[in-house]
Chain length 353, copies 2
């Protein structure tokens, strides 16, 4: 609990006072004022978070955290559980969607086993910070103990810290865990106060009957465990997951280090929600990468008041939407850093003639 | 007219038969089927256009075409007319938004003077294919003759052809021309049948009174010239612009060469609309890069049945939104080319357990 408390204690309000100054610099660039829309907003947010007037985004890191879920025994997923370790190996070999898209935007991928149900073959590229061999079935009791929830978050923090020493200017979250849209939906339902049906989608591809069963399992998990919506650790322990806790840790650690975090899909957004319950100031460090076809994703963004950068009908997770959005954030910062001013370019300003 | 006719004659229907085959290949990749949404659609579209099963997008080119507009004497723009040549120099020095964003996505920028009102200082980087020194005031008569409209399109075609010899796998359109949202609105109003008010925005930043005046000028230009909505050359000559004609030429030439074209903002979309009137098969070669805050932009996409890739509140033009969208198209093609299959990665498929 010490590492978690220390990390949360370091999180400051972002510096809104830099907003007006950054906008003035943007307004001096050779374009009509405000004409680069969201790119300008993203550049301002990065300055406010980092407190660096000319921020560099050289080091971009996508944290992909994996874990298994006891609730899969209720039959909530279209894919078998062994896909979790298989996909971790795929990440390590560079063949997954997140590998392709991270390389596309110049980000490195950090892969961590936070609680896969089997022991994975060791690899120098694989970080192993297992809290357990999959969570327990949350439909029958808590997914994990409160101590395990803390440990999953602290493992996420220490993974971030290790990578931070190598350099991180922009972080992104991603995950893999067969069945993990189910705990994500439960977390989102509890914290936002929306019904299970409102925040439950079809995950990797179940049918209508599968969806109804999934909603029933989520509802039952909440009834059985009665998580306290105002206590992030209680929610995470009762209806969460180890990889979700790990991502909560990454998000808290990034905010403590003034690093902007691009949050990926629905599961990542549930981790962000837990982080915001633990420390509401975290919200301003977040960039909502995209809105997925998982219906609960929009619920989270609306609840947090965040506007997604992209809307591309994605529903893969892994950090794929976040990687794409990193490219847009990068573009916004490059506009701020690299465009000419009216004066330097000898271009007349509006109404100058 | 010969070059235009020959080019249009080469434009074939894209190969829809490749769609199912490409989707099968996408469905074999290690992700739930369809889970990369729009990225998968873009990859399929590139295959259907190029008829290459493993398309490369190594050479990306943004065509930025500049021209002046006689209608600016009606006071329709917030910026003075000398900004057109000033911004062309800015493009050549690499200080504009389009330079920064093209470099970000690995595209080269081709800058062409299609009809700027002054002679520009020669530069090896500047292509000069002037049709005239700015168009005439369309509120008083045709912006240009029919012969000039043909010439502007054919100049666009030959600029594309010269660049095509150096390699183009993905093209994008961009423009610069103070006052050019006014002819773009007129073109869009005529072709889509919507009122001038429906398709007129505030350009680079006029106020409400300026907007009302702009709408009145557009309405008057249409009344005075009575363009024939079914004749793209008639519309372009009466209420168009030289840079708009040049972009129409680029789009037609790209389609003739089976090169996908990412269409930028409102003005570029008006050029695409003219191209589609000349040859409706062109539509399937187009990728709608983004939807801008210019209200007529959405009208064009809806009319053509195209769904914009991005929605970032942009209203700069130059090709900036198209450059950003090129990055997303590139990502989609990389997914198709670089991701592992289930078999190669040893990952179980849905329902395999």
């Amino acid at each position: 609990m010490k590492l978690l408390n220390e990390t949360v204690g370091k999180i400051e309000q972002i510096d809104f006072l830099l907003q007006a100054e950054t906008q003035r610099r943007l307004d001096n660039l050779t374009k009509p004022q405000g004409s680069l829309g969201r790119l300008e907003d993203l550049a301002k947010q990065v300055v406010e978070i980092t407190r660096v007037k000319k921020p560099l985004l050289t080091h971009k890191v996508v944290f992909v955290m994996a874990g298994d879920h006891g609730v899969t025994e209720e039959g909530v997923s279209a894919f078998p559980k062994e896909v979790t370790p298989q996909m971790v190996y795929n990440f390590l070999r560079g063949g997954a969607g997140i590998n392709v898209l991270s390389q596309h935007v110049g980000a490195r991928v950090v892969v961590a086993d936070m609680g896969v149900a089997v022991d994975l073959t060791p690899s120098p590229e694989l970080i192993v910070r297992k809290v357990g061999y999959g969570t327990k079935n949350m439909a029958k009791g808590p997914a994990m103990s409160r101590e395990e929830a803390i440990k999953s978050i602290e493992n996420g923090i220490s993974i971030f810290e290790t990578e931070f020493k190598k350099g991180i200017h922009l972080a992104a979250t991603g995950e893999m865990g067969i069945g993990n849209t189910t705990p994500a939906s439960a977390i989102v339902s509890v914290i936002t106060g929306r019904t299970a049906a409102d925040v439950t989608g079809k995950g990797t591809g179940i049918d209508d009957a599968g969806w109804a069963k999934k909603v029933a399992v989520i509802r039952k998990s909440i009834e059985v465990n009665k998580p306290d919506a105002t206590d992030g650790l209680d929610v995470l322990s009762k209806v969460g997951g180890y990889e979700i806790g790990g991502l909560t840790g990454v998000i808290l650690a990034a905010a403590a280090r003034r690093v902007p975090v691009v949050v990926d899909g629905f599961i990542s957004s549930s981790a962000a929600l837990v982080a915001c319950v633990i420390e509401p100031k975290v919200k301003d460090y977040l960039i909502a990468s995209h809105v997925s076809v998982e219906q609960g994703h929009k619920v989270v963004w609306d609840y947090l008041g965040l506007k997604p950068v992209l809307d591309l009908g994605l529903r893969l997770g892994e950090g794929t939407g976040a990687a794409l959005a990193m490219g847009i954030v990068d573009a916004g910062v490059k506009v701020l850093l690299e465009m000419s001013t009216f004066e330097a370019a000898g271009v007349s300003e509006k109404g100058a003639a």
